[in-house]
Symmetry: C2
Subunit: 393 residues, 2 copies
């Protein structure tokens, strides 16, 4: 199988380069690079019917992904996670057509497996021997996992107060873990220094072009699982926001190919009240966010005070007629419990935040009673023992 990638293009200045070269940020303007495909060639090469026959992982969409040779794919069964109807179990929300995309059922227990599987596969294809990244927690675990599977060294810097299990998974996988007193932004400075000094490949969020391609499969799966229809809205808990940008780009590609008809779903950003830089920028009509001082929330994945891709997230939200909303930890904790007790879904606090947001947006009339709404649960609550102790005890 050849790759259908036509070029790597800067998300801001349109600088371009050929696929197959090692790239980080745009060499001209230091913005994220994105991957473009020959969609017509993909459309000739594969059909919805042939995809339906393939194994239930995100690699069923391999033509939409950048890996040139399937032997380079590093896979542990990630993706094609269940889309679970929950509207009838949560009637008080007034959203009968409500689904949870349960990405807790991934290797490493979070949606970060998608980005790491694609990112590490491409690192392997490009001959990279060591990668480095800062993380709020789950990305560190996921890249440590896929790095181990690929025989690629992984250097991770993580806040001290990330869930203990995130530290432990990096250690068990044999990653080099540096613990940081501070936030992911502080971890980022430390990793940048290590990269300068040691020549590691920078695998931080959006600092290489392929993590987002893995995340894109979330959008492709939602389309396929809904019978190649678009939902009306997708609620996404945004830390770095890559998943939302990925879903947006994936659905745009399907739309351009005519595989799904009609408007894109409204893409809705959910953040925590204790760290809501993108919500603030959205409300203020700004194109980029400001660094959020004193970030604090038990949704550790949302403790991202400034996202490199904030401008793309804001663009996706605005172009699709979406919105952005911040919710409290108290409400999200209550929603974790409600979701577990009514549906059996054991959602991460980040996932529960989207349920909290859905309830509020329905009350405000932003979501209509008949809207078909998908919530992204980014991980399993098994990774949030500290938060569970707060909620349950």
């Amino acid at each position: 199988m050849p790759s259908y990638v036509t070029s790597i293009t800067c998300s801001r200045c349109n600088w371009r380069c050929d696929p197959g070269t090692i790239q980080n940020l745009c060499p001209v303007c230091a913005s994220p690079l994105l991957v473009d495909y020959d969609l017509e060639a993909i459309d000739r090469a594969v059909t919805k019917q042939s995809i339906a026959q393939r194994p239930p992982t995100m690699w069923r969409y391999e033509e939409f992904l950048p890996v040139p040779d399937p032997r380079q794919i590093v896979s542990l069964g990630e993706g094609f996670t269940p889309l679970i109807a929950v509207g009838s179990a949560l009637t008080e929300l007034g959203l009968p057509n409500l689904w949870v995309k349960d990405d807790g059922l991934n290797p490493t227990g979070s949606f970060k497996a998608r980005g790491a599987s694609c990112g590490i596969s491409m690192a392997k294809a490009l001959g990279i021997k060591a990668v480095a990244l800062p993380t709020a927690g789950n990305a560190g675990g996921a890249w440590s996992c896929y790095g181990a599977a690929a025989g690629i060294a992984v250097h991770v810097a993580m806040p001290e107060d990330a869930p203990a299990i995130n530290h432990l998974e990096c250690k068990l996988y044999g990653a080099q873990l540096t613990v940081v007193k501070g936030l992911i932004s502080d971890a980022g400075k430390l990793i940048a220094k290590g990269i300068r000094e040691n020549g590691w490949f920078d695998a931080a969020t959006l600092k290489e072009p392929y993590r987002i391609e893995g995340k894109k499969t979330l959008g492709l799966e939602i389309a396929e699982q809904m019978g190649w229809q678009m939902p009306d809205a997708i609620l996404y808990p945004a830390g770095g926001g890559v998943g939302l940008i990925g879903i947006w780009r994936g659905l745009l590609q399907l739309q351009a190919m005519g595989w799904v008809k009609g408007n894109l779903p409204r893409l809705i950003v959910v953040q925590a009240e204790g760290c809501a830089p993108i919500v603030k920028a959205f409300r203020e009509g700004k194109a980029i966010s400001e660094f959020w001082e004193g970030a604090s929330t038990f949704s550790s994945g949302l403790r991202v005070p400034k996202a490199l891709g904030d401008f793309l997230v804001l663009q996706a939200v605005r172009e699709t007629g979406g919105t952005a909303i911040a919710v409290s930890d108290a409400d999200s904790g209550a929603m974790m419990q409600l979701l577990a007790r009514r549906t059996g879904i054991f959602a991460a606090p980040e996932g529960a935040a989207t349920l909290t947001a859905a309830a509020q947006l329905r009350e405000q009339g932003v979501l209509a009673p008949n809207d078909r709404v998908v919530l992204i649960n980014t991980g399993t609550a098994l990774k949030y023992q500290e938060a569970l102790e707060q909620i349950c005890n």
Copy 2:
């Protein structure tokens, strides 16, 4: 869809009853009841090809399962977990044809989701309002989960020293959790008292006929994922042993239908040195095991001093030419690390125990170099934070 169940039959005295009635142990001899099917009718109703088209959950085998009406199925995406080839990543083992069936990628992070999904679906079908069970940990989480999804009350008794996450998941799901100073056997006494006093349905291991049917899908999936071939050996970490009995019965059914040819795989029981009642009974040529005093291992799922289905486990092992082996926690901890670092699989200690056993059985010549060997990883290490802290720190 009608159910293809023909009768419920005692595993010891052959007492029989019709499907559709609420049953626990055999009313004559107090042994476990097993479910029989009209295999010819299943063979007429479904093909390998039609199964291949279905969603990737254990319910793709619905004809092999007892639920009479698909609307009664309580599903969160359980089953059809990945079968991952690991032989080439672990060359020093000398087993090039080695796979891990990674059941950590289930709802609730363990294979217990299979039994609970089937058991709770049947409880719902039979109109049961409250179930009760003792647990070493993961079954409690799984039944709490599916009970919550079905609106069935769940009463769980669990050892105090089960992993903290097992206590927390039961609590978040709203189960009534009783903490026991002691083992699952002590929890069992407490639950039996609650059942007598309150009329709860007894959902303890093998005390109702349907949990094992869910576990059976492990065997069906292994057959399908290997192209409807049998492996040469399956290594299973046995606490209560229901999964092994289920795999055995599932493969016998496929064999009887002619869907798989040749001999059944050797079924190999793996236990921990600190709690190995079935291994002891196997070595001593006994038909049943004795209560293991002072059970102790960090593989909490193996802390089962006496299994109700021990005689069936021993029969399955002997009839398939298998064996039974006990491994140390130190070796299993090292294997958790090796497996993570080489393959990316984040196995529960119980799963790692099967890798330890495979290495030893290969050294002893019990497994031959070209044997096709499947290890059952029963859960994710995310649920074993205490064990990880021991291994990593």
